[in-house]
């Protein structure tokens, strides 16, 4: 029912003479050239939007994997899926970081923009993107913690049945954002372990190899935990920096914002007027000063020449 007007717009070609149209186009095109090109930060905007869409897809994928993994019976080996999950979380972590970087880019661009409307545009684009990022980040973290919780509770349950197998608690699949770092750490601790072995080989002869490897495994696990929580913390601080929260307040009303801009425009106009009057007043004063000085000078001359 809304389309009954379309025909009119389609017909507008006939209503406008072609030559006047092209003529107008050239003139006005030159006039408005300043606003023609999209601003430099629009690339960043598109980039972030792309990142967001990819993140959404990945999050869905991750959730699916989680669900699949949770419904399956436990297997001690790190399966294909777990590796896939790890891969996904790593990618998402990177995507979040680059998303935040892009938003930061837009923000700085917004501050440097000379025209008011451009500035507003960039600022609200930045707000929109960081809200979207924030929401995604929250749901991502919720998914992760839900998964871990489920996993832990399942482990608890299975531990009850396999009390004797407690020694072989499987290593939890890590959800670290910095698994790279963790790998580095693993290498390091392995190295350290070897070094240690060399040093204390004579002293610790009574320890058998098995025990030592287990100790190393535990240590490695702990180090991994620490690294992970530090990287978590890093993320948390980044998130805090970008946090936007004015939903539900008057700042989130469209009409309030429109009114505010109008008030600002009016304020600016008033200031301009004031400045204008000041300037004029100064000129007048200047004239008066010049005239009075010349009057004094002339009367002085008058007195001198008459006497």
């Amino acid at each position: 029912m809304h389309h009954r007007l379309d025909t009119y717009t389609l017909n507008k070609m006939a209503l406008v003479a072609p030559e006047s149209m092209t003529g107008g186009d050239v003139e006005l095109g030159g006039l408005n050239l300043a606003g023609d090109a999209p601003p430099a930060w629009s690339d960043a905007l598109e980039e972030t939007q792309y990142i967001l869409s990819r993140l959404r897809a990945k999050l869905a994928e991750l959730k699916e994997l989680h669900a699949k993994h949770l419904t399956r019976p436990t297997l001690d080996d790190t399966s294909q899926e777990e590796r896939q999950m790890e891969q996904l979380t790593r990618e998402m972590g990177r995507a979040f970081t680059s998303g935040h970087r892009q938003v930061q880019l837009i923000k700085t661009a917004a501050r440097q923009e000379s025209r008011a409307s451009e500035r507003r545009l960039a600022a609200s684009a930045a707000v929109a993107l960081s809200t979207a990022l924030q929401e995604l980040g929250l749901s991502y973290r919720a998914a992760q913690s839900h998964y871990l919780q489920q996993l832990n509770s399942r482990e608890e349950r299975s531990r009850q049945y396999f009390e004797e197998d407690q020694e072989f608690v499987s290593v939890e699949p890590s959800d670290s954002w910095a698994t790279d770092l963790k790998f580095a750490q693993v290498g390091g601790s392995n190295y350290e372990q070897q070094h240690e072995r060399q040093l204390q080989q004579e002293v610790l002869l009574e320890f058998d190899d098995e025990e030592r490897t287990r100790e190393a495994m535990i240590r490695e696990q702990e180090v991994g935990h620490i690294v992970q929580s530090i990287s978590d913390l890093n993320h948390i601080f980044k998130d805090l920096a970008h946090m936007v929260q004015d939903q539900g307040s008057v700042l989130d009303r469209i009409d309030y914002n429109v009114e505010q801009t109008q008030i600002q425009v009016q304020e600016g106009y008033k200031q301009l007027k004031k400045a204008d009057t000041y300037q004029r007043a100064n000129r007048k004063l200047y004239c008066i000063m010049v005239l009075t000085i010349s009057i004094i000078f002339l009367s002085f001359l008058f007195v001198i020449f008459k006497t």
């Binding site: 545009l121 989130d252 469209i254």
Partner: protein
């Protein structure tokens, strides 16, 4: 039958039809309010709408040609000419134009002629020409629509357009019934039918649920807007005034800057959505549980010992912040309400108001009014309210004492604008203007009802009053509403029971009626009722309407009494 989602759908469609890319929304004054009631800024930012401009804000030299412009305007002559100017030297790249109502072909032609650079991509009519306040409540934002008991022509036009757009957005082509004794209702009904016949292809919907448009006049029930209210939404409106879901609190002493103006929108505030129809006492309890919850949460947040705690904190933080915003907002509002109630002795005033509207005991009520007028805590408005209610109730009572009460008001120092209102309201809707017996409790059914009431006792003395609308709707749905008092427009008569009813109150609805309609919808899932009005009244706005309505007509009361 949900005006809120109908509007939201339109706006969503607007933002989506232009495809991806940065967008600016260009509106006029009224459409700004329409959009802001259904969409919050953060929601619409997610639709890539990053700038909001008013078409009448004055020309800005700077262009942003890389933006897509969504134009959403009412089809008024002024807007058309502004839009033509905009199109001649466009600031934005392409334009998607949406009019909020039916637009004349001639206007389209002038627009097309101004579009020299071919920047317009699409032109549509999206019938979002009213303010949706709740899912079942709409308003047109016309505070004063009457002058000398007749329509102000521009507002008649606007009202008819508003109702047409409600019908079109809900895809209904209803039967129309109107208040027989009211010229204003009749004129409006005829105006609407005129549009029906002129744009018959627009109204060609499949009708299954027997929609009915019922037009009633505020003059038939002047009591409801005079009463003090005790349910949350209505009370806030009565004491603090809600304007498009915004409440201005800047006059409150020692208010912080963020709370100088708050938004009470059921759509974006869960607590408000749950409690908007609860009464004041219940609200107090709800606020208390809200506070307790909040305190528990904030205590939890204070413990930040490990990294896991910090992680949890950040996960909770946005929610926590939201709750803290909600808590401080509602605590401020309710605190202000309760301080007003205490300061102005509103409990006693309201009790008497309810008695005046529901019971007839002339001499005792007269004594009570006199006592309250002499009470220094009672505000001028409330004293006037009481005398107005008294005048309406006992207008024809043989030994009424309106003049005596007026003298007392004058002695109290009530300004003349208020004392004048007492006769103005009789003028506006005295016995001569009313069709129904607002205060007549002599009818058989009324007496039995009263007996039952007497037996079971009154639930709550502050909410005894039921708006007349409830009775009208009851009659209508039971098929008892007489075609004498509420005739059909034209000679069509509806044979079946209506299942969808749109009630429009000429001269403004109230939140008390909105509450009644909401309860009705809840109790009868088979029927759907939507309430609308030229505005949503509280005492203050209603008095403005009365003043305008009776400003320069010949007075029939003053001469008799003075």
């Amino acid at each position: 039958m949900n005006v809120f989602s109908a509007l939201k759908l339109y706006i969503t469609k607007m933002t989506e039809e232009s495809g991806p890319g940065m967008k600016v929304l260009l509106m006029d004054k009224q459409t700004t309010s329409i959009v802001s009631n259904v969409y919050s800024k953060s929601e619409i930012l997610q639709k890539e709408v990053y700038l909001f401009e008013r078409i009448d804000s004055g020309a800005q030299p700077e262009g942003l040609r890389h933006l897509k412009c969504i134009v959403f305007l009412r089809p008024t002559a002024e807007n058309i000419s502004l839009l033509c100017r905009e199109l001649r030297c466009p600031k934005y790249g392409v334009y998607y134009i949406y009019f909020s109502n039916i637009i004349a072909k001639a206007d389209i032609k002038t627009l097309a002629e101004s579009d020299e650079q071919e920047v317009v991509r699409e032109v549509h009519e999206f019938y979002a020409d009213y303010l949706a306040l709740n899912p079942h409540l709409f308003s047109l934002g016309i505070n004063v629509c009457v002058q000398d008991l007749r329509w102000i022509p521009t507002h008649l036009q606007r009202t008819a357009q508003g109702i047409i757009s409600v019908l079109l957005s809900l895809r209904k082509c209803p039967f129309i019934r109107y208040q027989g004794g009211s010229d204003m209702s009749k004129i409006l009904a005829e105006k609407i039918r005129e549009t029906f016949s002129k744009e018959s292809n627009l109204f060609d919907f499949r009708q299954e649920l027997n929609p009915l448009l019922l037009i009633v006049d505020r003059r038939d029930d002047p009591v409801t807007p005079l009463l003090n209210q005790w349910t949350y939404q209505a009370m806030v409106h009565e004491l603090l005034t809600i304007n498009n879901n915004r409440v201005d609190l800047s006059h409150v002493n020692g208010i912080s800057k963020e709370l100088a103006e708050v938004v009470l929108s059921a759509e974006h505030d869960e607590f408000y959505a749950q409690n908007l129809y609860l009464n004041f006492g219940e609200i107090g309890q709800m606020i208390k549980t809200l506070m307790d919850d909040f305190q528990k949460k904030s205590k939890k947040n204070q413990k930040l010992e490990s990294i896991a705690d910090i992680k949890n904190f950040v996960e909770m933080y946005p929610q926590f912040k939201k709750i803290s915003g909600t808590v401080s907002k509602h605590v401020t509002v309710v605190g202000e309400l309760s301080s007003l109630v205490g300061k102005h002795n509103l409990l006693e005033v309201s009790e008497l108001e309810q008695e005046l509207s529901c019971q007839s005991e002339h001499s005792t009520q007269l004594q009570k009014i006199k006592k309250l007028i002499n009470d220094s805590r009672v505000r001028d408005v409330d004293a006037t309210r009481l005398v107005m209610l008294y005048a309406l109730h006992y207008e024809k009572h043989s030994n009424n004492d309106i003049t005596g009460l007026l003298d007392m008001l004058k002695k109290k120092g009530v300004p003349a604008t208020y004392t004048k209102l007492v006769y103005s309201i009789l003028e506006y809707s005295g016995v001569h203007a009313r069709q129904s017996n607002l205060f007549n409790h002599e009818g058989v059914s009324k007496i039995t009802k009263k007996l039952f009431m007497g037996l079971s006792g009154v639930d709550n003395i502050y909410t005894q009053h039921k708006p007349l609308l409830v009775e009208t709707l009851d009659d209508l749905l039971k098929g008892r509403l007489s075609t004498q008092t509420f005739p059909y427009l034209g000679n069509m008569v509806m044979s079946k029971r209506p299942q969808e009813i749109i009630v429009f109150i000429v001269g403004g609805a109230t939140y008390e009626e909105s509450l009644a309609v909401n309860n009705w919808n809840k109790q009868n899932p088979g029927t759907k009722i939507i309430l609308g009005g030229t505005t949503i009244h509280n005492f203050q706005t209603f008095t403005e309407e009365i003043q305008s309505a009776t400003n320069s007509i010949t007075r029939r009361y003053r001469s008799r009494n003075n």
